[in-house]
């Protein structure tokens, strides 16, 4: 019953946050400068009448609440409107672009998580100052390099972009993972396990993973969201036809239907990941 209550609460939160996120994103777009402008405003070949007609064609919805309610109604039927910058149904655009981003994000997250965990484990477990310093240096080095520039270098040397995203994610996870592992390392249960001669692999699986599971899960959720955030400049700079590049183009063009769909999607993804992490953490009350 308690589980059902928690599920219901998380579901309600999910719906509320997604709706609020979509509306706020629409509001930010609607009231940003340039929303009422179109690129053709500077086209010197067009007459005032044609410009007016083009503005009307873009059909800017002036009433935000009305637009949003109508948009949500369509979204529930799978119709996310027509992109003003691409002239294509938004649903079609998302379907076409999702696989490229999905591949990049999944491989990037898995790779980044694994590498960060290995590096953090090396720094914490082996307790050699040289290794600790090396791990810190690698993390510092990777933090300083803009991920998009790293990806561009990978692109030019025809290396996989997913690896670039992993390396971009690594330092962003390393510090926190290291702190979590250090706390576990100093815990009495782990000290007792080590005193009993239990090996590092078993300790890692049975003691560390279990004890730190909620924090690790929360960090995984953040990693996925971070990976998506990193994917945006990587896709844009490297010309990958994914959703990250779509987001940038939609933002530049103030493409409301497309941006609303992306906002709803991103809010759903972030909320879902966080809710999953919270549920896995178990009962919040002590």
């Amino acid at each position: 019953m308690r589980l059902l209550n928690r599920l219901a609460l998380h579901l309600a939160t999910l719906v509320a946050v997604v709706l609020a996120g979509g509306f706020l994103a629409a509001a930010l777009v609607r009231y940003s400068p340039g929303f009422d402008s179109i690129p053709e405003d500077l086209n010197t070949a067009l007459s005032p009448e044609t410009l007016q007609a083009l503005h009307a064609r873009y059909n800017r919805e002036n009433s935000l609440p009305r637009f949003y309610v109508r948009y949500l109604g369509g979204a529930l039927r799978g119709d996310f409107g027509v992109s003003q910058s691409f002239g294509q149904p938004v649903a079609l655009l998302l379907r076409q672009r999702a696989p490229a981003t999905g591949r990049l994000v999944i491989w990037g997250t898995l790779g980044g998580w694994t590498l960060a965990a290995l590096l953090a484990w090396t720094a914490v477990w082996l307790r050699r100052s040289v290794l600790t310093a090396a791990a810190a240096s690698v993390s510092g080095l990777l933090l300083a390099i803009p991920p998009a520039v790293l990806a561009l270098a990978f692109f030019f040397y025809q290396a996989p972009l997913g690896l670039a995203l992993s390396l971009g994610l690594l330092p962003r996870l390393f510090g926190t993972l290291r702190a979590i592992l250090e706390e576990c390392h100093a815990s009495p249960a782990l000290l007792a396990a080590r005193a009993r001669g239990i090996g590092p692999l078993r300790i890692g699986v049975c003691y560390v993973a279990g004890a730190a599971a909620p924090q690790l899960l929360a960090l995984l959720g953040i990693a996925i969201v971070l990976a998506f955030g990193l994917a945006i400049p990587i896709e844009t700079l490297c010309g990958v036809p994914g959703m990250g590049a779509l987001t940038v183009q939609a933002a530049t063009a103030r493409d409301m239907p497309l941006l609303c769909a992306l906002a709803l999607m991103i809010t759903f993804l972030v909320t879902f990941v966080h809710a999953a992490g919270d549920l896995a953490a178990g009962d919040e009350r002590a």
């Binding site: 067009l46 083009l54 691409f86 692109f155 530049t252 103030r254």
Partner: protein, 533 residues
């Protein structure tokens, strides 16, 4: 045993025949973004315009090298009635790419749709006239006449921009040009396939185009585009910035081509419209021709051409590029920089330079913001140079870079800016296409959009001279009027013309038949005659 040998032989053949040779007749290049539409009547952006040109069948095609109109779908035409009527005779047996016939009825339908306000066709503006819309009359399946109330200058040339469209609309429409749109993946590529029903043949009687297809990748990153060109994955690369052009010179010198000064201009203008965001004293500066000319005289155009454009630009003399040989007023020269003269002239208006700060007669330090587009290094660099030049006469400039939509918002409707560094990309040599910049009532009038009436006598004179461009049939008379217009613009300096950048391109040596021009589409205007080695 025999089967194994055949398999090995096949594998060997496939291995030896590289992918490049298998698709040897496919031209490959990139665009920085997706085309907005494939409907020829709805085209309003440059990418869609390129696709329209490559696929659309027009009655007339202008040879971009000789600048003369040549027969296309129309095998001939004649002007009559004092230049008011043009009668076209179509070629026999014309068909769209889907096999449907193309007759005078299709031309009439397309032309009427272009002018019909319901269709909101931007191309219609090219054919409208101040005195009323033209009338269309189908004389026979191969003959059509179009009659204007008043003579329209260079009427035949206008039909280069009108592609005849089929009766049935489709997401990837059929076309009467050398290619048709065969495949489109948003954000990825557009593929154009050869039109099997194209009307044109070469001198040997072979049907054109020579190319089997064109693949246009969508690639916003110009570094990646350049890398792919240098690797041989792309056959041409258009409108390069000077830095990337120098890279091609270094890595693949045979592929680098500087076509000379383009029709484009880099400009600076001030907001002369009364605006709550511009203080009254700044408005007085900006509306003073002496102030504008002094700013112009302080800017080192030759440095901009040499440093920002690495020598691939020409200091601008006025509103027309020197490459536009017929319309350019050869008597105009690019003003040499003379900051001392600028300060002397400003003194006549009550400005004083003290402690390296220029102040107006009321003591306000001369300072203004200079808007420009973000993401364009040449423009940001130009802004920095202008800032440095004006600092030497005591003027403080704040550079503000904005994304394109925010910039458009500030420039159009109610202008909310002080000064702007921008660029004009001219798509035609004929100045009548830029009329909307100079007519004071137009929303595209840069320094005062949609002026209710000309604020000064010289603006009223400019309005008259521009309207004459649209109505005077004699080219010589138009030229004379246009020369006067150019001199007024230089004298009053509502727009400061800085440089005309060169048109820099990269062309693969395997691409044959290309005759580059500075008129758009610069490299592909004779697409049906291009071939790949």
């Amino acid at each position: 045993m025999k089967f194994t040998c055949a398999l090995l032989l096949t594998a060997l053949v496939l291995f030896l025949v590289s992918p490049a040779e298998l698709s040897a007749a496919e031209l490959h290049f990139s665009l920085a973004g997706d085309p907005q539409t494939f409907d020829a009547l709805k085209v309003s952006d440059q990418r869609s315009e390129l696709i329209r040109y490559l696929t659309g069948g027009a009655l007339v095609r202008i040879n971009r090298v000789t600048d003369k109109p040549e027969p296309a779908l129309a095998q001939s035409w004649k002007l009559s009635d004092g230049g008011r009527t043009i009668t076209f005779r179509l070629r026999a047996g014309l068909r769209f790419s889907d096999g449907s016939p193309l007759t005078a009825d299709d031309v009439a339908r397309t032309f009427s749709a272009a002018l019909d306000p319901k269709h909101e066709a931007p191309v219609g503006d090219t054919f409208r006239s101040q005195q009323g819309d033209p009338q269309v009359r189908v004389i026979s399946p191969l003959e059509i006449a179009i009659h204007y109330p008043q003579p329209k200058p260079d009427i035949d040339r206008l039909f280069d921009s009108l592609s005849i469209v089929p009766a049935t609309a489709a997401p990837l429409p059929a076309s009467a040009g050398p290619f048709f749109v065969a495949e489109y993946k948003p954000g990825d590529f557009v593929r154009l396939a050869r039109n099997p029903n194209y009307w044109k043949r070469d001198a040997a009687g072979k049907q054109l185009p020579y190319l089997d297809s064109i693949r246009i990748d969508i690639q916003p990153n110009r570094e990646i585009e350049l890398t792919r060109f240098l690797r041989g994955e792309l056959h041409l690369i258009n409108k390069l910035d000077p830095e990337n052009f120098d890279r091609i010179i270094k890595d693949k010198p045979a592929a680098a081509r500087d076509l000379g000064a383009s029709l484009d201009s880099e400009i600076l203008f001030f907001n002369q419209a009364p605006s709550p965001s511009v203080p009254v004293w700044k408005h007085q500066w900006f509306t003073s021709a002496i102030f504008r000319r002094a700013v112009s005289a302080s800017i080192h155009r030759d440095d901009i051409a040499r440093v920002v454009f690495r020598g691939h630009a020409h200091p601008a003399a006025g509103p027309v590029s020197s490459s536009n040989r017929f319309w350019f007023d050869a008597g105009l020269k690019s003003p040499p920089p003379d900051p001392q003269a600028a300060v002397r002239d400003l003194a006549k208006e009550g400005f004083t330079l003290r402690d390296n700060v220029l102040r107006d007669r009321e003591g306000h330090p001369v300072e203004f913001s200079l808007l420009t587009t973000s993401g364009s290094r040449p423009r940001e660099a130009m802004a920095a140079m202008v800032q440095d030049d004006l600092r030497k006469i005591g003027v403080h400039v704040n550079i503000v870079t904005l994304d394109s939509r925010s910039l458009i918002d500030r420039l159009s409707n109610t202008p909310k800016f002080e000064a702007c560094l921008f660029g004009f990309a001219n798509v035609s040599v004929d100045p009548v296409q830029e009329m909307n910049i100079w007519l004071s009532s137009r929303p595209q009038h840069p320094w005062w959009p949609s002026e209710k009436s000309p604020a000064t006598p010289w603006e009223a004179r400019v309005d008259k001279l521009e309207l004459l461009q649209a109505s005077e049939p004699s080219r010589a008379a138009r030229k004379k009027a246009f020369d006067e217009f150019q001199r007024i613009v230089v004298e009053q300096a509502p727009i400061l013309y800085l440089v005309n950048p060169d048109y820099l391109v990269g062309i693969s040596t395997s691409l044959k038949g290309l005759q580059a021009s500075t008129s758009p589409p610069q490299l592909l205007w004779n697409i049906d005659s291009l071939s790949l080695e």
